[in-house]
Amino acid sequence: MTSSPSTDSRPYEIRIAGHLDARWVTWFDGLTLTAEDNGTTVVRGVLADQAALHGVLQKLRDAGMPLISIIQLDV
């Protein structure tokens, strides 16, 4: 999901419950995973647009990963 810059692309921080092994990196296709001390994982990266964002959210839903928060960061 590394995107070429477009007017809609934004950096996002998505927080889910539970830590994820390194093996999940490829599944997240270009986003980074950071395990936090509070037992959550932050998925970070630039997403091309709203459709890409909803695509990630749907993947999380399919994998049963409980969604805690989504933050759009300043460009």
Partner: protein
Amino acid sequence: MAGPLIATKLHVPTRRPATVPRPRLTDRLSAHARLILVAAPAGFGKTSILTEWLASLGDDARVAWVSLDERDNDEGLFWSYLVTALDRAVPGVGAAALDLLASNPPSIEGVVATLVNDLDSRGTAIVLVLDDFHVIENAAVHAGTAFLVESLPAHVRLVIASRADPPFPLARLRTRGELVELRGADLRFSPSEASAYLNGVMGLTVQDDDIATLGDRTEGWIAAIQLAALSMQGREDAAAFIAGFAGDDRYVVDYLVEEVLHRQPDAVRRFLLETSILSRLTGDLCDAVTGTSGGGGTLEALDRANLFLVPLDDHREWYRYHHLFAEMLRARLLDEVPERIDELHLRASDWFERHGEMTEAIGHAIDAGAFDRAAEMIAVAMPGMQQQRQELTLVDWFEMLPAETVRAHPGLSLGFAGVLLSSGRTDGVDVLLRDAEAATGGTSDGIRAIRAGVALYRAAQALTRVDLETAAAQAGVAVGLSRDGSDIDRGSSAGLLGLILWARGDLADARESWSVSLDSLYRAGHRSDMLGGSIAMADIQLAQGRLTDAKETYRRALEVAAEADPALRGAADMHVGMSDLLRERGDLEGAHRHLADAEALGEYAGLPQNRHRRRIAAARLLQTAGDPASAISVLDEAERLYTADFFPDVHPIPARRARTQLAAGRKADALEWARRSGLSVDDELSYLREFEHITLARVRLADPADPSSIADANRLLERLLHAAEQGERGGSVLELLVLRSLALHKIGRAEEALDALQRTVALAEPEGYVRLFADEGGPMARLLAALAKRDGETAYLRRLRTAASGVRQPRPAAPRLIDALSDRELDVLRLLASELAGPEIARHLTVSLNTLRTHTKNIYAKLGVTSRREAVGRATELGLLTTK
């Protein structure tokens, strides 16, 4: 049946042996509701609880089950599965709907309406389950399902299982007590349930405090509890396992799947990972994908070991992985052997192709990046899929194929152009058509048909923008290209051109175009469209002053409508049209009869526009009967229910209402309309605003306070008359001549007035106009009398005078009831007097909508009325509504 359906999607899951009974939940599912919703994330046990509940309903229960996937966003597929599932549960109930689905292209509205009607009249209790509803993103499918929620009869229970709340008005259903919900919180396993599962079903020995720890860590998530149980089997120290698990921060399901996989032999682990790319599995397919043998045996072993395999049929042939488990496996596959994934997909594609399952073969080919292979298969599968309205799938595939691949396969460019167009998209169609032409070395029938389709689409878009010039040009292109094409193409393009010509005031050309269109639509078997077009044809003929031709149009259309059972969409509209024609000719009994017929046919027999058209016809009848006040309320209703279509709005309702207000003596209201309309007697005239300008002239003529008004009105009338004559609008010419004679009389030029009237009468007689004169009331009655005196009374003149005499038309109802209403009919009547809508009344009386319709039809007949409002009015008069 609309094409090959995958039987496993319709399989009703049977109760699995290794489960904990949860009666507190299944009891809740048995409550009465319009919708049962089970909404929770993956792995919460939605399907299991529904399976348990269905089993509790007993062997006689009729169950229809559809396991949805992304392909079902295609309307054609979605409804095919849904109707087939219902038909399996109650043989025959889906027959008519399936028939409609087989037509090309199917009208989904017709399918759903027919289905609801058949379910209603069949009366057998059915449960319909739509599993994995969250995969549906298509708004049209959502809308259709929402409609089902609202209109299914009480004996059909609709259950939706989803990972997300469907976009229905759930809050409204909740407050009305029409929703039964099981949510994540409900489905979480309590400590006692977890204990029953672990110690009871799985035969482990886990202490209470460990169960509590496990419960905390998993939060009652059954998928996790199951995985934990699998991990603890054969382990000596369950407590240590739980402690380790509890102390770990990893995502619960991932941790546990790792544990379970770790304990599998290598071969099994490899099997699980490699077959995770499949959405459904069978032994032979697994062998092909893994390149090993014994797949069938492996699957059975996994099933026995409770390793997240869900059987898809009763003979242990097909399975799928539990979604959550599959997702975990896929992530591992991606991480461990990414370079093998294409190969796995290719093997799957090959197997599906050899077994004739083209959709899955194509899907796997695309996943494998084998685009040429996919393109070849799509070229073969496309015609069949287009016919079954599976355009969305085709559009998806189109977007995934590289442009060079599409170009390299001749049939594809054309096919995709057609599919895009059917989905309402023109972007990229031109390029595809050029590619198609390059490939075939020139144009072909297929290419011509699609070019015609593009032109038609652009014409329609231009029409909505009221860019009539572009619209006419594009429509002309479409007509030219369709001349040698199919009947439906010819019919559609001629029809659209007809609308555009009509809007431009080219009535004669418009009529000719419509004539071609109606003929072609009839031959193409598109009867409803032919009926819709008949309205346009008749309206144009009326504008031309050709009453006889218009009547013939409706007569023919009614003949066509009568050929179909159940009633065609548009049948009601034909009755409404005929009703108004008969009214104009003074046959008020006939007019009432046709209106009653229209109402009796019900909502679905009318096109969307019929809701306001029927009321307008009813209002005109009321005004003719001398009750303009009631007519005004009905017009208000019509305005509220107005739905626009492509027809030029040449008789806007506010202008109609202003005329009725004049008849009712509400001059101030009419003047207010004139003021608000922004119209002026000095405006440039156009066909589209002719009706409004004539209305303005009437308002000015009726306004005594201002003497210049009469002069202004006369000036406007003369200009309008000239324009109408130029435009060959015979109907308007007649009306204007009538007004002119009235105006001349008003300013004291009596002899000229009579001359004008005499000319008008002569023009109107061949077409049988009556209300044209009669609705003008007293002043016209006197003028007609004077004319009769001057020139002698012909039979026609006598008819006109009788009609215009202003006597309140006798209501086609007996003064007393000849047949008394039954108790049941009285019940219905009392509810008709309330604010409740039809379906709500039916529910209140616990009868089907069909039964209610029969009751209301009988009530209307006994009361001699044609509408609900009239029925209530009459009932009040007769004292039938006084409480017992």
